[in-house]
């Protein structure tokens, strides 16, 4: 097995990296792949909560790197979704406890054990980011349709290119009604500035919060538009790159027809 390491990053905080990591990881596992999601946000762990696995943590990523346990011991198996594992972050260490070299060393055994390794990157461009991208083969950049988020995503994209990683874009938290009114940038506006390949559009969806609070994974909620969008992103990553970005079930095709009124603002 020669697994692929995909880092989920954004620059700006709170745009949906952790949500995307959990959902895409789960969706990928549901397609039958061996998946591990790793929380690289050392000191501010989150991914375990979003996945409802916080009570089962014994070891964490720093323990694995420091040789205090085996990967197998630290990787928590999800009870609802087969083939899905989480390696949590350490809450008590800080980001300097790991180095990019540590991650590169670890990546060899991860690649041998899993098909897909998703790294949930912390916000910022410092050590935490360096660690998360150190061994990455691919990157998913999460961006919301806001000027500040685009600015930070653009910065991250420049840094990723400098590391020979070609990123793909997820635009998250889109509110179609606001875009239609001209109160929110459209995904086209975002793509125009960032000019990288778009791999998914995720709407603002109350079910995201509900999923976090109830522990019922978003991708298991059939009627969640965001959940479906993450399923499609996983499919596109997993051998169906030409699957249309537009949700077929939304029928109205509004993604295309939305106005560009805010164009001049970014």
């Amino acid at each position: 097995m020669e697994g692929k390491i995909i880092v989920v990053t954004s620059g700006k905080g709170g745009v949906g990296k952790t949500t995307a990591t959990a959902c895409i990881g789960a969706a990928m596992a549901m397609q039958g792949k061996q998946v591990v999601v790793i929380d690289m946000d050392i000191g501010l762990r989150n991914l375990d909560v979003v996945m409802g696995l916080e009570n089962r943590i014994v070891f964490n990523i720093v323990d694995v790197v420091k040789g205090r346990c085996k990967i197998k011991q630290a990787a928590i198996k999800d009870r609802r979704i087969d083939n899905l594992f989480l390696i949590p972050a350490s809450q008590s260490d800080n980001k300097d406890s790991l180095t990019p070299e540590d991650i590169i060393r670890l990546s060899k055994s991860l690649r041998g054990r899993f098909d897909y390794i998703f790294m949930d990157c912390p916000a910022g461009i410092e050590r935490g980011f360096e660690n998360a991208v150190a061994a990455a083969d691919e990157a998913l950049v999460v961006c919301t349709p806001e000027v500040s988020s685009i600015r930070d995503a653009d910065r991250i994209i420049g840094l990723l290119y400098a590391k020979s990683i070609t990123p793909k874009l997820i635009v998250n938290r889109i509110v179609p009604e606001m875009v239609a009114r001209g109160d929110m940038l459209s995904h086209e506006d975002v793509v125009e500035v960032l000019s990288i390949d778009l791999i998914g559009l995720v709407k603002m969806d109350d079910k995201v919060v509900v999923a976090t609070n109830t522990g019922l994974p978003l991708v298991l909620q059939k009627d969640s538009e965001a959940g479906n969008a993450f399923h499609r992103i996983a499919q596109r990553l997993n051998g169906q790159p030409n699957l249309p970005i537009e949700n077929s079930d939304n029928g109205k095709g509004f993604w295309r027809s939305l106005g560009r009124k805010l164009r001049r603002r970014n």
Partner: protein, 229 residues
């Protein structure tokens, strides 16, 4: 006859009329030859700018004054002057002008930094002299040049030309939407006057940065011959 032909020569009709005269000839002879030439020019001479070039390093002020009055009087030309900064038209300048003929720019190392691609937020490009970007400059990106800046795409970031204190330089973009502009020491934020789909450039006029339509103003019109930058 031979001598006559060489006493006064019309050399060029560019921005005005460039006439070389032989200052060693008598004033009468020069006037007679000037008359012959200007009669032939006819209407073209009226209101023209005439440069009288003695092709020497002496000033010949009296001679030029007299011939100047004569031309204004007889042929209603607008101005008559000596060539600009005669003394600085050194060997160096002659050499630069000749480049057109000998194509010596083919051996010249460029002072232009030319980059292809997108300059992204947080990236800063600095050029000692001129800077050309074959691509877009994103919001949050910064480009700085000691000389002119040309962006063959959209300029949405910050741009500083003539850095740190050259006010003659310009910033041009095919899609001109900068966050901030600096020329010499002058700074403006936002876009002074943006026209979608128009190539525009910023330059300094009366100590303020102005943005004008590129095609209407032709900021390079002031450069009379091809020069290596």
């Amino acid at each position: 006859m031979n001598e006559h032909r060489q006493a006064v020569r019309l050399k060029g009709v560019g921005d005005g009329l460039w006439v070389t005269i032989d200052p060693s000839q008598s004033v009468d002879l020069l006037k007679r030859d000037l008359t012959a030439i200007f009669k032939r020019l006819n209407e073209m001479a009226v209101n023209s700018k005439v440069t009288l070039d003695t092709e020497t390093n002496e000033s010949h002020t009296n001679l030029l004054d007299e011939l100047g009055l004569f031309l204004k009087d007889r042929f209603r030309v607008a101005t008559v002057s000596a060539p600009p900064n005669r003394r600085s038209r050194s060997r160096e300048e002659e050499r630069i002008r000749k480049r057109d003929v000998d194509r010596s720019w083919q051996h010249h190392r460029s002072h232009v930094l030319m980059l292809a691609g997108r300059v992204r937020s947080g990236q800063k490009v600095t050029a000692r002299k001129h800077l050309t970007i074959m691509g877009d400059v994103n919001p949050g990106a910064e480009i700085v040049a000691g000389g002119d800046i040309l962006v063959m795409g959209s300029l949405k970031g910050k741009a500083a030309a003539g850095y740190p204190d050259d006010e003659e330089k310009i910033i041009l973009a095919l899609d001109f939407q900068p966050e901030q502009l600096q020329i010499g020491g002058h700074v403006v934020t936002g876009i002074p006057s943006f026209k979608e789909g128009r190539a525009q450039f910023a330059h300094i006029v009366n100590n303020t940065i102005l943005v004008d339509d590129y095609l209407k103003n032709n900021p390079f019109g002031r450069l009379p011959w091809p020069e290596v930058l």
